[in-house]
C-alpha cells in the first residue's frame, strides 16, 4: 500500500455515508467525485474498513461504466452518441476530438492528464444535438470546427 496516500478524504466520505457494505457504491462515487477516478490505494483501505473483499469492490467498480480505475484528465469531455446526436453527426466531432488530442477508443486520456474523451449514450439534451459536455458544462449544436476552437481555448486554461 502506498504509505504516502492521504485517507482523510476517504474517511470523511465514509463517515458521511456509513461504513457498511450497502454503501459501497455511494462511497466509490464520492471518492471518484474527488479524485476523478478510483485510486488503487483506496481498495485495500475500504476492504478493511467496510469488511468486504477487495475482489468484490473491484467487481463493483468494474461493473459500472461510470467508475474509472485510471486517472482522468483535468477536462473530461463527454460526447453524446445517443440517437439524436448520432444522426446529427456526432461521430465526426468525436473523430476530431480524438485526432486533435491524439486519443483513440482505447486511449481516452492524454498523457499530460489534460483531457479525457468519453462517449455517452444520451445526455438528455436531444434538442441541442449534437451535444458535448466539458466537466458537466454543456456545449450545444457542436461541429468539428467549433470543437477544435473549444479545445484551443481549453488548452490555454491547462
Amino acid at each position: 500500500m502506498n504509505k504516502t496516500f492521504d485517507f482523510t478524504i476517504v474517511d470523511h466520505i465514509m463517515n458521511e455515508l456509513g461504513c457498511k457494505p450497502s454503501a459501497i457504491i455511494a462511497i466509490l462515487q464520492g471518492i471518484q467525485e474527488h479524485y476523478r477516478y478510483l485510486p488503487r490505494e483506496v481498495f485495500p483501505y475500504l476492504s478493511k474498513k467496510i469488511g468486504i473483499s477487495e475482489a468484490r469492490i473491484y467487481s463493483t467498480a468494474t461493473f459500472y461504466e461510470n467508475f474509472s480505475l485510471k486517472p482522468k484528465g483535468k477536462f473530461v469531455i463527454k460526447i453524446c452518441d445517443g440517437t439524436a446526436c448520432h444522426v446529427r453527426k456526432s461521430i465526426p466531432i468525436l473523430e476530431r476530438l480524438r485526432k486533435d488530442l491524439g486519443l483513440s477508443e482505447n486511449k481516452i486520456t492524454t498523457d499530460d492528464l489534460g483531457f479525457t474523451v468519453e462517449t455517452v449514450s444520451c445526455l438528455g439534451a436531444c434538442g441541442l444535438a449534437p451535444v458535448i459536455t466539458v466537466n458537466d458544462k454543456v456545449y450545444p449544436a457542436m461541429t468539428p470546427e467549433k470543437t477544435s476552437e473549444l479545445l484551443r481555448d481549453l488548452k490555454e486554461e491547462l
Binding site: 468486504i52 473483499s53 475482489a55 468484490r56 467487481s59 468494474t62
Partner: protein
C-alpha cells in the same frame, strides 16, 4: 397427524417434505437434473438455467430457485426444455476451449458430462472469446479463464464458506470474468490455497496443480531413494474412483499399489500426527499453566496458517509452534538419511492442495532443499495408480514400513474435524481406560458440524474447547473471541468437515464426507493403541534422533523476526 403436501412431477405424485427447492423434490422421484451453478451447500445463484422445468401453464422456472408448493404440476423433460438445454450447452461450448483430451479435468468435467448426456454433436456458433492468459502463479491451483462458464461456484465458495474473498466477478456482459482484485496473480491475492474453488468448479477453469510427473521421474531414477507418507484422510478418499465399494480404510491397498510403483519406503503420516499430539499436548499444558497465549490454535492446517498470517497476524503468537504432522514426519525421515550419499526424495500423499504450498515454505527447507520434495493429492494418486495400470481391487493389502508403520487411533482420526482435539484430549486424560477414552468421543468433538464447542476438566481447571472447520466459521469465531468470549483450545481445519473434504480428494457431497469420517473412526477402532504417547516408536524417537533437537525438527516459527516462546 400433519396433513401432507403433494405435488406432481412428470405425472408422478410426490410428497413435499420440507425441501427448500424443486431440485430436491425432483431428485426424490429418481431424476437427476442437469445443473452447473447449484451446490446444496452454497447460496442459490440461478444463473446456468439448465435445471429449468415447465409448469402446467407452459411457464418455465428454474428448479433450483423455485420453492415447492402443494398442488404444483411440473414437467422436467419436454421437447422445449431439451431444446433450451441444448442451446445453453452449445453457447457455453462455443466460447469454451474444447481441448478436452488434454484438459486437467478430463473425465471429471460437468460440461463434458452434460454435453455427452444431451448428445451435443455440433456447435453452430464461432468462438468470440478473447484468450485470457493462464494464471499458474499459485503452487496449489491453476486458473484458466478459457474454460470458465461463469457459474460463480468458486466465488461463492471462496466468499460464503471460506470467507477468503480472493476472487469475484469482474467487468460485465461479454467481458465478464472471474478475477482477483485488479487481476493480480492469484498467488499475490488473499488466496490461502485451500483449493475448495477447484473442488466445486464444474469445468477445468480452476484445477489443482499436478505434480505426478515429477514423482514418476524420481521413481525412475535408480540413484534416488524415494520415500512416501500417506495422510490419514487419503485412505478413506479413494472410494468409487478406484471401484471400491465404500469409503472404508484402504491403506493396505494403497501401500501395495505404491510398492508396485517403486516407492522404496512407505510411511503413515499418522505417526507424524502422534508426534504432533505429544508436542501440541505439551505446549498446551505449558500455556495453560502459565496462562499465556491462550487460546492455542492448532497449526496442522496450512490453509488456516496462511489465512491467519494474511488476515489475523496479531493472532500468530497463539498458533501452535508445532509443525504439521506431514512436516514433523518429513523432517525426521529426511534427517535420518542426511548421512547417505544417495539422493533422497520424500513424497507426501495428501488430501490437501495447501500442503503443496506448505511443503515449499522456507521454514521447512534444510540447506534450501524442502523436507517434502513433492506433495501429491489423493486425486493425483488415483491418476498414478490408473496410469500404472494397477487394478486396485485385485491387490492384496500390505503393511506400512517400519519404523513409521506403527500408528495409533489418535493419529488416524486427524483427518476428520474434531480428530486433533480428540487425540489431544486422549493425551491429557489421566484415566487411560478404554471406557474413559471412548467417552471422549461423546463430548461433542465428533460430527460434521462447522463449529463444535465443549468444556472438559484438566485437573481442577475448566478447559474451553472449540472445533471449527470452514474458514468463514473460523473468522466468525475469532470475531466472537474479540468481543470477549474465552476459549483455551481451538482446532481449525480450513475445509468443511476437515481433511476428508480436502480439495485434493475426489469431490464428495455431504453424505460421502460423513462416510469418510466414519471410515476414519472405524480405523481408530481397529488400532490397538489409542493414545499417541503409547506408540512405541515415540519412545525410541525421543531417546534417539529427537534428543535435544525437538525444537529444531518438530517446531516452527511463523512469526517473522520474532523468537517464539
Amino acid at each position: 397427524m400433519d396433513k401432507k403436501d403433494f405435488m406432481t412431477i412428470d405425472g408422478v405424485p410426490v410428497e413435499i417434505d420440507g425441501e427448500k427447492n424443486l431440485l430436491e423434490v425432483i431428485r426424490k422421484v429418481g431424476i437427476k437434473m442437469p445443473t452447473f451453478c447449484y451446490h446444496s451447500e452454497l447460496s442459490i445463484y440461478g444463473a446456468c438455467r439448465m435445471c429449468m422445468v415447465e409448469n402446467e401453464w407452459g411457464g418455465i422456472d428454474a428448479a433450483c430457485s423455485t420453492i415447492p408448493k402443494a398442488g404444483m404440476n411440473i414437467k422436467t423433460n419436454t421437447q422445449r426444455l431439451r431444446k433450451y438445454r441444448k442451446n445453453i450447452l452449445e453457447l457455453l461450448l462455443a466460447n469454451h476451449c474444447r481441448d478436452c483430451t488434454t484438459c486437467n479435468n478430463n473425465g471429471k468435467c460437468k460440461l463434458q458430462d452434460l454435453a455427452m448426456r444431451f448428445d451435443i454433436k455440433d456447435v453452430r456458433f464461432p468462438n468470440t472469446a478473447s484468450q485470457p492468459e493462464i494464471d499458474d502463479s499459485s503452487l496449489c491451483i491453476t486458473r484458466d479463464a478459457n474454460k470458465c462458464i461463469l457459474c460463480g461456484d468458486c466465488v461463492r465458495m471462496c466468499n460464503e464458506i471460506q470467507n477468503v474473498g480472493a476472487i469475484d466477478f469482474a467487468h460485465r456482459g461479454s467481458k465478464m470474468t472471474i478475477s482477483t482484485a485488479f487481476e493480480i496473480p492469484i498467488a499475490e491475492s488473499p488466496c490461502v490455497g485451500c483449493g475448495q474453488c477447484a473442488a466445486v468448479c464444474p469445468t477445468g477453469a480452476i484445477v489443482v496443480k499436478n505434480d505426478a510427473q515429477k514423482v514418476w521421474e524420481a521413481l525412475d531414477d535408480m540413484n534416488t531413494k524415494v520415500t512416501v507418507q500417506i495422510a490419514p484422510a487419503v485412505r478413506v478418499g479413494l472410494g468409487k474412483k478406484l471401484e471400491l465399494d465404500a469409503e472404508g480404510n484402504a491403506i493396505g491397498l494403497i501401500v501395495a499399489a505404491l510398492r508396485r510403483m517403486g516407492f522404496d519406503e512407505i510411511y503413515d503420516t499418522s505417526a507424524g500426527a502422534d508426534l504432533t499430539v505429544l508436542e501440541e499436548g505439551n505446549e498446551f499444558i505449558k500455556r495453560l499453566d502459565k496462562n499465556s497465549n491462550l487460546p492455542l490454535f492448532t497449526s496442522c492446517c496450512p490453509a488456516w496458517v496462511q489465512y491467519c498470517e494474511k488476515n489475523y497476524p496479531e493472532l500468530l503468537p497463539n498458533v501452535s509452534t508445532c509443525r504439521s504432522p506431514m512436516e514433523m514426519l518429513a523432517s525426521i525421515v529426511k534427517d535420518q538419511s542426511n548421512s547417505s550419499s544417495r539422493r533422497h526424495v520424500h513424497v507426501a500423499i495428501m488430501p490437501c492442495t495447501a500442503k503443496k504450498y506448505e511443503a515449499a515454505r522456507d521454514e521447512f527447507k534444510v540447506n534450501g532443499v524442502p523436507n517434502v520434495d513433492y506433495v501429491i493429492t489423493t486425486q493425483e494418486l488415483i491418476q498414478m495408480i490408473r496410469e500404472a495400470g494397477i487394478i486396485f481391487t485385485e491387490l492384496e493389502p500390505e503393511a506400512v514400513d517400519m519404523p513409521f508403520g506403527t500408528i495409533t487411533g489418535a493419529g488416524v482420526i486427524f483427518g476428520v474435524t474434531g480428530g486433533v482435539t480428540e487425540a489431544v484430549l486422549r493425551r491429557l486424560s489421566t484415566d487411560k481406560s478404554k471406557a474413559s477414552l471412548m467417552s471422549i468421543a461423546y463430548q461433542g468433538v465428533r460430527g460434521m458440524k462447522g463449529v463444535k464447542e465443549t468444556t472438559v476438566m484438566y485437573g481442577d481447571k475448566e478447559v474451553k474447547i472449540a472445533v471449527v472447520s470452514g474458514l468463514k466459521n473460523v473468522s466468525d469465531l475469532i470475531e466472537r473471541m474479540k468481543s470477549g468470549e474465552h476459549y483455551d483450545f481451538i482446532e481449525v481445519m480450513a475445509c468443511p468437515g476437515g481433511c476428508i473434504s480436502g480439495a485434493g480428494q475426489p469431490f464428495a457431497q455431504k453424505d460421502i464426507r460423513e462416510n469418510r469420517g466414519n471410515g476414519l473412526y472405524a480405523a481408530d477402532k481397529l488400532c490397538n493403541i489409542k493414545c499417541s504417547e503409547e506408540n512405541p516408536i515415540m519412545m525410541s524417537l525421543y531417546n534417539g534422533i529427537l534428543k535435544g533437537r525437538v525444537h529444531d525438527l518438530l517446531h516452527v516459527n511463523y512469526l517473522p523476526g520474532k523468537e517464539h516462546e
